[in-house]
Structure formats: structure tokens, C-alpha cells
């Protein structure tokens, strides 16, 4: 689904050049659940942003669904983004001025989905994420976990090909954090492709594969054993 070859990103200021990414190679298949870990400034967020088409690379190749993304104009990127990618952020990024329903509706609006279909989809996804009773509320009236579930609902409502999660539990306590991670695992079990950035080994353990980055390069990759599942399920 995603093939990245020799991807390079350089930040330039007047005095210095900083290589945020240097020669990244990565492949993500359909149905993968991949975690990127690493210390602050290692380039993991930059990589996520490039994959999410929010940022652009200087060199290399990034293919999404066999389509080259490097060199695509803003307009084209916006189109690919809205059709294929769902985002989940650390700070949720919900629009405080809109109700939960309206927040979830946004991607559908921008994808020109018909009004009747929108209602169905929103109700279905809310049901799935257990926030049906919260649809009329505003984000500020919800707990952090609930807000993140709304954000997940918004990311999923348009059936994206891949979900990008940038430290989805970073602003949550462990209980709410667990709920969100279970949600992602669940989605993965049902076939979703997920790419997640995190600081937490614990969170990473939910995924299939973890990549460690440092100074703009990938230096290790390992497959995870879900040996904590039993313990968590007992909760």
C-alpha cells in the first residue's frame, strides 16, 4: 500500500541545514499495524506528516497505492488526503465550535457525500465507537478519552485506506489511553491499516511491528508479541 524509498527531508534556515530524514526506506502493506518510535527530534513526526501529505520531502520516492506522491501539488495532495487518509492527533484537533455530530460529518461534507448517506454513516460509526449518546454534545463537554474516540470516528467515517495516529494517547490518562489503544487494535483486527507514532513502549506493543528511529534514520525494526493481551483483557 505504501512504498517509501530513499526519502530525504532537509530543514534549511539561514545558517544551518538539518537533515530530519535521510534515506528512509519503508514498506507498509494493507492490514499492517506499524508503530514508529524514537526520541524527540528523531524525525518520526516528520515522516508521519510526509506520509499524511501534510508535508513534502526533498528527495526520494513515496508511493501511495502505487501512485507517486512526491512532487504532487497542494491541490492534488488535498484530494488524495481526503479520499485515503484518516488522522488521529495527540491533542484530538476537534473543532470546539461544532458538535460531535458536526465534527464527524466534516470529512463527508468535503467528500461530497449525500445528506441521507451522511447521517447513516455517522450513526453507524458512533454506534461502533460507543459515542451515540454524545452526538449532540460539544467536544469540551466530553472526557479526553471520549474526545479521542470522536477524533477516531472522524478519521474512520469516510473509510480511509490508512489511519495515521500521532501519539494518540499522549494527552490521555492510562485508562482512557488503553481504551483508545484497544479501539485501534480492534480496527486492525477488522482489517484497517494503521501507522502510529508514539513514545510509549506499552502502546507500541499493541502493534504488529515497531520501527525505531534516531537522527533521521531507521535503525531497528522488530515484530511485537502480544503477550500482554491476556493481562489487559482481565481488566
Amino acid at each position: 500500500m505504501i512504498t517509501i524509498q530513499n526519502l530525504t527531508k532537509v530543514f534549511r534556515t539561514e545558517e544551518i541545514e538539518t537533515a530530519a530524514l535521510s534515506g528512509i526506506n519503508l514498506e507498509i502493506k494493507k492490514g499492517d499495524f506499524l508503530t514508529i518510535m524514537g526520541p524527540s527530534g528523531c524525525g518520526k513526526s516528520t515522516l508521519l506528516n510526509i506520509i499524511g501529505l501534510l508535508d513534502s520531502a526533498n528527495d526520494g520516492s513515496y508511493k501511495l497505492l502505487d501512485q507517486e506522491m512526491i512532487g504532487l501539488k497542494e491541490k492534488g495532495r488535498a484530494k488524495v488526503r481526503k479520499e485515503n487518509i484518516g488522522f488521529i492527533f495527540q491533542n484530538f484537533n476537534l473543532i470546539d465550535e461544532l458538535s460531535v455530530y458536526d465534527n464527524i460529518e466534516l470529512p463527508l461534507l468535503y467528500n461530497n457525500v449525500k445528506a441521507s448517506e451522511r447521517r447513516q454513516k455517522i450513526e453507524a460509526i458512533a454506534e461502533k465507537l460507543n459515542i451515540s449518546h454524545r452526538l449532540r454534545h460539544f467536544p469540551q463537554q466530553l472526557s479526553g478519552g471520549q474526545q479521542q474516540r470522536v477524533a477516531v470516528a472522524r478519521a474512520l467515517v469516510n473509510d480511509p485506506k490508512i489511519i495515521l495516529a500521532d501519539e494518540p494517547t499522549g494527552n490521555l490518562d492510562s485508562k482512557n489511553g488503553n481504551e483508545v489503544m484497544e479501539l485501534l487494535t480492534d480496527l486492525h483486527a477488522k482489517g484497517a491499516t494503521i501507522l502510529m507514532v508514539t513514545h510509549s513502549d506499552y502502546d507500541a506493543s499493541f502493534s504488529q511491528r515497531t520501527i525505531h528511529m534516531k537522527d533521521g534514520v531507521i535503525f531497528s525494526e522488530k515484530l511485537n508479541q502480544r503477550n500482554v493481551d491476556v493481562f489487559m483483557d482481565a481488566k
Partner: protein, 808 residues
């Protein structure tokens, strides 16, 4: 989608009720200013546009060679010769350029009418008002025919059929032939139209410029050719003949006396863009192009000011919307959709503002109408079209820029949260703020200068003293016995206790004298105004005689061949010892040209408004020429028991002078004040607009200062932590606004100086532009800026440091 946009819009509206309200209010004030200007503009441009003949009808004006005066009147033989010899002219029509005011009688009914037009018999070919009743053609052809307007017919005849009825005007019977409907606005909107303007004995008088003249050209005629041919008529019949009579060659004669230049003003444009002339150009007057431009210019400035305000606030508050825009972009909004969303919001605000503006206009229209002496209403397809145009224009001007600005927010930066202190857009906001300061400075300076000119006009020593002097119209038709009648009246009213002095002259203070006659002395041609007066007139008006003596009944020759001249005339004629100089006047009697001896020099005084210089004047006793063309009696009355005195005068007038006219009077000072009524209006206009501008500008400054200071909260918190004291912080925060204020002021003074200088050029008597208004404007502008900025800055320095250091 629109529903979603609307929800967000409503949310923000609710969140900042005050700012949203002020924003809408600011825009609506700007828009209502433009609506006012448009209403005025439409009305001024609507004159005569209904008239199907507007393209072919021209008013003939004459620019008199030597004096440079432009007269709206022509002579009968000139018009008739042109009609007979120039094939391009279809027909001509003589018409008075003013309304006659007189009593109209029908059976036992008597009505005073102020809109009577006396004209030729083909008037309705030039102003084809629709005929409602009676003859449609040749309405005024028969002798003593008249037509009456629909409204007036109802007033005079009630339910009766007016056609064929006889009415009396100027003691002569006329038969009503038609009833017409007046289409407004028109240069002539008469209540009555009487035929038979041409007086027999004027038929061959080339020098009698007593008649307004209109020509109607044939379709497709070249007006330049017509004008050339008309000039030729004048040249052959006047210039050539006059030159011959004076025994000079034509070139010599033209060089000395000049030649009449004929000007043709098309009916279509005549009301507003017609040639400036001395005397009335048409009964309904002419348009005030200058005031129109001032209104249009100032209202546009205010609209720009409110637009700038809107843009500034929209971009400043855009930061609050940054996250929303970021999220929208992430979930798939394109730039176009973001722009559309914010233009949509502007559209809602502009719609509200326009509705608000219409309400403001509707409510203040009566005051505006009183100010313009008009009867404007909000209607007409043209107006609504213009309103839609304004709507579109305001949306584009106010909406596009903030929308593009917002749509360009970089998603990543916005969502990372380090956006709120970004410097983007600051440069533009600051220059707009400077621009606002400039406009405010312009308005303050303008208002101060207009104010001091008006003050100057109201307080200037005019050279005469009209305190306690009243002017009473003296309506007496028979010119032969008018002098005698005046003498009797004078003697009788002097007996009324409270009447101290009685005198008269042929003219009014403010409008000038009724006649002017030219003569040549020592090779200098002059055209002085004639002050045809009674003894004691100069004394009563406290007009000084600086050399020689006033005319007096003690000297028999004072009623025959002595006169006074004013300082200006003495100077123009270059007389070193003017007293006892004998001058040959332009008037003749059976013995040839009359000669007058100067017995005194009168100190210059302002007979017309301060727009004009003091004209050359000659003063002679009314018995010398016996023209009796005075129309008023002037009386000095005691301030004690004034009501009683006036009551007695009224009784006398109604019984003995003219029972048909109600007694009327006016204080001379009040009459003169009319000459600067226009400027007083402009002063008030400037004052009101000034308030509006300052309110809008202050609000804009406050809002902008609030936004930009709130973005610096973290900086302030850090500074406070490091030990900055309040006054240092205040200085730091307000410094830049003072600089902006100074730059804006510097930009504003240039147009203020130039435009006000131009405005002042209209006045022969005017103030010089000193540095005082500029100083006052600068100080008040700085003062206002400081108050607003310091208030806000003080509030900002009181923040809780911890809260902002923890944030982010």
C-alpha cells in the same frame, strides 16, 4: 455544507457579541453613508431625464465680453433671427428663467402662487408634460391662454372642470386651456403656465436681455454648426452695427468692448453640469455639483475606513479560527472551499450591515432631506440595482483578502500550536491602521478649517450694521406711482412708535442690487452695481462715507446729478481726487448721456456673500432716475415692544399697501446669513461625519490593539517574570501605536491641506490656513490613541503570569 458554515458563524457571533455588533455597525455606517450619497446623486442626475426632448433642447446663455458675466437671458430679435435663418433650429421658446410669484384669482377665491411660469406659446414642445385634460396641442397659442398643474387645479377649482374657466393673474384675465401633470424632477415644475411672454416694444431691442431662450434643434443637427451660425447672427446684427455706430473698425470695437460669446447648455446635462451664470439659470435652480462631490468623496472615505476596519479585525481574529481551518484542511477541505466559507461569512455580515444601513437611512432621511432641502425617498429600480452592486463590491473588498489570508494558513504549523505568535499579516494590518489614522487626521483637520472659515464669515465686519433693521416686501405693481406710494408709506409708518428710521434701496443684503450699468471714464470701462436709494439709507445701515458727504435732501442737485461711488470703484477708475469729478454715465435722456458729479466716497461693504469681492458701486437717489425698481422697505425698529410694532406694521400693510399679499418681514442680518447657510451646512456635515469617522477609527484601533496585545500575553508574562515594571510594559506596548499615529497624521495632512485650500478658494474673504488646526488635530489624535491603547495595555499587564507561562 452551508449549514455547517452557518453553525460556526453563529457560534462565533455568539462568542463575541460586542465585537460582532460593532463590526456590523461599523460596516453599516459606512454603507449608509454611501446610500445617502447615492440617493443624492441619483436625484441630482435625474433632473430632466424624463424629458424626451432632452437631447435636442438647449438653453442659450450669453457671456458678455467686457465684464465676463454670463447671462442666462437673451434678446427677442436675436432669438427670432436665429429661428428664421438657421435651418438646423426647429423652433425656439422664450421663457422666464425664474418663477413669478403672484396672486391668482378665480371668482371669489384668492391664492398666492410661487411657481408661475410666463413663457412662449410653444412651451409644451420643450417640456412635454402629459396633458390630463383639455387641449393637447397649441395650448397657449391663443392670446391670454394658460395651463394649470393637476395639483393646483384641485386646489383652485376643487371638483369643477378647470377647462375654459377664467382666472386673473396680474389683473388680467386668462382662460385655462389644459391641465398637465408635472413629472419631477425637472428644471421647471410650474403650477401655472401663462403664454404671451413677448412684450411688443422689446421686439426690435437687440440690447434688451430680458428673456430666457431655449432652442430645439432638428434631429441629427451638429450643435457646433448651430453655435457657429448663432455667433454669426450676433456678429452681423450687433457687433458690426455697433462698431459702425461708434465709428470704429470692427477689430477696434471688439478689442475695446469685447464680443458676446454664446453658450449652449443641453437640457440633459444642464441642471448639474450647466455653465455657471450670474442670476438664476432655471426656476428650480441648478445642481450643487460641489456638494455632491464632497458628499460622494467623504462617504467613500468612510466606507473605505469601515472596510479597512473589517479587514483588520477579520485577519486579526483569524488566529482564533486557525485550528478550525487546519482541521478542515486535514479532513479534506480545499483552499477554494475555505475561501468560500469565509466569503460566505462576510456575505452574511454584509447582508446584516446593509439591512442595518437601510434602517439608519430610513430613520435619518428626514434630517438629510432637511439638510439638502430635497425630498429623497428610498426607491427606484436603479437604486436597488446600485444596492446590489454595493453588496457585491463590499463583499469582494472586505471578504476576499481575509479569506485568502486564512486559507493560506499552513496546516502543520496551525495544528502544532505554535501559530498564535506568528507575524503573518502584521505588516498589512499595521499599514491599514496607519491609513485609518490618516483618514481620521484628514477629517479632524477638515472640520477645524471649515469651522473657522464659517466662524470668520459669521463674525466678519461687513461694513454695514443690520441690527434691528427689518426688510418688508413692498408689492406695488404700478411703477409710475410707486415712488409716491413709498413716500406716503414712509411718513405713515414713521408715526408708529417703535419705528425709528425708514428708508429703502433697490436690492437686498446678501443678494446684491437689482441693476448694474456700465460706462467708460478716462478710457476705463466699468460695470458698477447701482445702489438706487432713498435719503438716510447709508446712515440707517451705518455705512460710512470716508470722503466728502452723504446725499442729502438739503441739496436740490442731489436728486438730479450728484452721486457717490465706493472705494473699489474709485480705485478701479484711478481717481486721485475723486470728489467733484464729473462722470458721464451710461444712461441717456433726451439731452444725451447723463452726467453725474461725485460728492462722496462710500467705504466698501459686503452687499453679497463673502464668496464675492466687494463690487464697484455707484449710489444715487431714487428720484434721479425714477426707475422705482425697489421691492422692499427697510425700517429700523426698537427692540422694545417689537411684537406690538410689528403688529401695527402688519395692520398698515394689509390695509394700505397691498391687501392681496400677507405682511412679511425679515431681519437684514438673518437675510444676509443665508449667504453662508451653505457653509454652515457643510460645517455641520463635517462635524457629523467627523464623529462617525472617529467612532469607527477608535473602535478599529481598540479592537486591533486588543488582538495584537493578547497575542503578546506570553511575552508580557515572561517580561513580568524577569522583573519588568508596569510603566515600562505600558511604554513598550503603546510605543508602536504612537509611531503609527504620527505616520498616519503625516499622510493625512497632505490631502487635507490641498483639498481645504481648494475649498477656501471659493471665498473672496477667507482665512489663511494656519498651523493651529493641524496642531489641534495632532494633539487630539495622539490623545485618543493614548487613551485607548493605554487602557488596553493596562488591562493586559494585570494578567496572571503563571497561567501564560504554563500554556503551550
Amino acid at each position: 455544507m452551508i449549514f455547517n458554515w452557518f453553525k460556526i458563524f453563529i457560534y462565533h457571533l455568539k462568542q463575541s457579541k460586542l465585537f460582532s455588533f460593532l463590526n456590523v455597525l461599523g460596516l453599516s455606517i459606512g454603507i449608509s453613508g454611501v446610500i445617502f450619497a447615492i440617493l443624492y446623486w441619483n436625484n441630482e442626475h435625474a433632473y430632466n431625464q424624463w424629458n424626451p426632448e432632452k437631447e435636442n433642447v438647449y438653453q442659450v446663455l450669453n457671456k458678455i465680453g467686457i465684464t465676463g458675466d454670463t447671462w442666462t437671458t437673451s434678446s427677442i430679435p436675436f432669438g427670432q433671427t436665429c429661428a428664421a435663418t438657421i435651418p438646423e433650429i426647429e423652433q425656439i421658446c422664450f421663457v422666464n428663467d425664474w418663477y413669478n410669484e403672484s396672486v391668482i384669482k378665480y371668482q371669489n377665491k384668492k391664492l398666492i402662487d410661487k411657481k408661475i411660469t410666463v413663457t412662449d406659446n410653444n412651451f409644451f414642445d420643450f417640456y412635454p408634460f402629459p396633458i390630463i385634460k383639455g387641449a393637447k396641442k397649441d395650448i397657449l397659442k391663443e392670446k391670454n391662454s394658460a395651463a394649470i398643474s393637476e395639483e393646483q387645479a384641485k386646489l383652485l377649482f376643487g371638483e369643477e372642470d378647470p377647462i375654459g374657466k377664467s382666472i386673473t393673474y396680474n389683473d388680467k384675465p386668462y382662460t385655462i386651456k389644459a391641465v398637465y401633470h408635472i413629472i419631477r424632477p425637472s428644471s421647471v415644475e410650474p403650477n401655472y403656465v401663462f403664454g404671451g411672454i413677448i412684450r411688443e416694444n422689446d421686439a426690435n431691442q437687440w440690447g434688451n436681455f430680458n428673456y430666457g431662450l431655449m432652442i430645439k434643434t432638428k434631429k441629427g443637427a451638429d450643435i457646433a454648426t448651430v453655435l457657429k451660425k448663432m455667433h454669426n447672427v450676433n456678429f452681423v446684427n450687433r457687433t458690426l452695427k455697433d462698431a459702425k455706430a461708434s465709428g470704429q473698425t470692427v477689430e477696434q470695437y471688439v478689442k475695446e468692448n469685447g464680443e458676446i460669446q454664446i453658450i449652449l447648455d443641453q437640457l440633459k446635462t444642464r441642471y448639474l453640469y450647466g455653465t455657471k451664470s450670474s442670476g438664476s439659470a432655471s426656476p428650480e435652480g441648478t445642481g450643487n455639483l460641489k456638494l455632491l462631490y464632497i458628499m460622494a468623496g467623504l462617504s467613500l472615505l468612510i466606507l473605505i475606513l469601515s472596510l479597512v476596519n473589517y479587514i483588520n479585525l477579520a485577519t486579526a481574529s483569524a488566529i482564533k479560527r486557525a485550528k478550525e481551518v487546519g482541521v478542515r484542511k486535514i479532513v479534506g477541505a480545499s483552499k477554494k472551499q475555505i475561501i468560500a466559507q469565509f466569503i460566505f461569512e462576510t456575505a452574511i455580515i454584509v447582508t446584516l450591515a446593509i439591512l442595518f444601513a437601510l434602517a439608519i437611512v430610513e430613520l435619518s432621511l428626514p434630517f438629510y432631506n432637511a439638510f439638502l432641502k430635497k425630498n429623497l425617498t428610498i426607491n427606484g429600480a436603479e437604486f436597488y440595482l446600485q444596492l446590489i452592486l454595493i453588496f457585491g463590491l463590499v463583499i469582494i473588498l472586505a471578504g476576499i483578502f481575509p479569506a485568502i489570508y486564512i486559507s493560506n494558513f499552513e496546516t502543520l504549523k496551525v495544528l502544532k500550536g505554535n501559530f498564535s505568535r506568528s507575524k503573518s499579516g502584521i505588516w498589512i494590518r499595521n499599514s491599514m491602521l496607519i491609513f485609518q489614522f490618516g483618514i481620521a487626521a484628514f477629517f479632524i483637520i477638515g472640520a477645524l478649517i471649515v469651522n473657522s472659515q464659517v466662524d470668520y464669515m459669521m463674525n466678519k465686519d461687513l461694513g454695514f450694521n443690520g441690527d434691528q433693521v427689518i426688510r418688508i416686501p413692498f408689492n406695488y405693481q404700478d411703477y409710475k406711482t410707486k415712488g409716491q406710494k413709498y413716500e406716503t408709506t414712509k411718513q405713515e409708518i414713521l408715526k408708529i412708535p417703535g419705528v425709528q428710521q425708514v428708508s429703502t434701496f433697490a436690492g437686498t443684503f446678501g443678494n446684491g442690487t437689482n441693476s448694474s450699468s456700465g460706462f467708460t471714464h478716462n478710457g476705463v470701462f466699468v460695470q458698477p452695481r447701482n445702489v438706487d436709494m432713498d435719503f438716510g439709507f447709508l446712515d440707517m445701515m451705518k455705512i460710512k462715507v470716508v470722503e466728502g458727504r452723504d446725499l442729502s435732501p438739503k441739496f436740490a442737485s442731489d436728486t438730479i446729478d450728484n452721486w457717490l461711488i465706493n472705494e473699489t470703484l474709485a480705485k478701479t477708475l484711478g481717481l486721485k481726487n475723486p470728489i467733484n469729478t464729473v462722470i458721464t454715465s451710461g444712461w441717456g435722456n433726451e439731452k444725451g448721456n447723463m452726467k453725474f458729479k461725485i460728492v462722496g466716497i462710500v467705504k466698501d461693504f459686503n452687499i453679497t456673500g463673502l464668496q464675492n469681492k466687494v463690487p464697484q458701486m455707484v449710489f444715487l437717489n431714487m428720484k434721479a432716475l425714477k426707475w422705482n425698481n425697489f421691492q422692499n422697505v427697510y425700517a429700523k425698529v426698537s427692540p422694545n415692544n417689537l411684537t406690538e410694532t410689528l403688529e401695527k406694521l402688519k395692520l398698515y400693510w394689509e390695509k394700505n399697501v397691498n391687501p392681496d399679499y400677507p405682511f412679511d418681514y425679515e431681519f437684514v442680518n438673518k437675510g444676509f446669513a443665508k449667504t453662508y447657510a451653505e457653509q454652515v451646512k457643510q460645517k455641520n456635515l463635517f462635524f457629523i461625519l467627523n464623529l462617525v469617522v472617529i467612532v469607527i477609527a477608535i473602535f478599529g484601533l481598540f479592537a486591533l490593539a486588543s488582538f495584537s496585545m493578547e497575542r503578546r500575553l506570553k511575552e508580557i508574562a515572561i517580561r513580568k517574570t524577569l522583573g519588568a515594571e508596569t510603566d515600562v510594559l505600558l511604554k513598550e506596548l503603546s510605543k508602536q501605536y504612537i509611531v503609527f499615529c504620527l505616520i498616519g497624521f503625516g499622510i493625512g495632512i497632505v490631502p487635507a491641506y490641498i483639498l481645504l485650500q481648494k475649498w477656501l478658494e471659493d471665498f473672496a474673504f477667507r482665512i489663511g490656513i494656519s498651523s493651529v488646526p493641524f496642531g489641534i488635530a495632532l494633539i487630539s489624535l495622539l490623545f485618543l490613541t493614548l487613551i485607548i491603547v493605554l487602557t488596553k495595555a493596562f488591562q493586559v499587564t494585570k494578567i496572571d503570569v503563571l497561567k501564560y507561562l504554563k500554556y503551550e
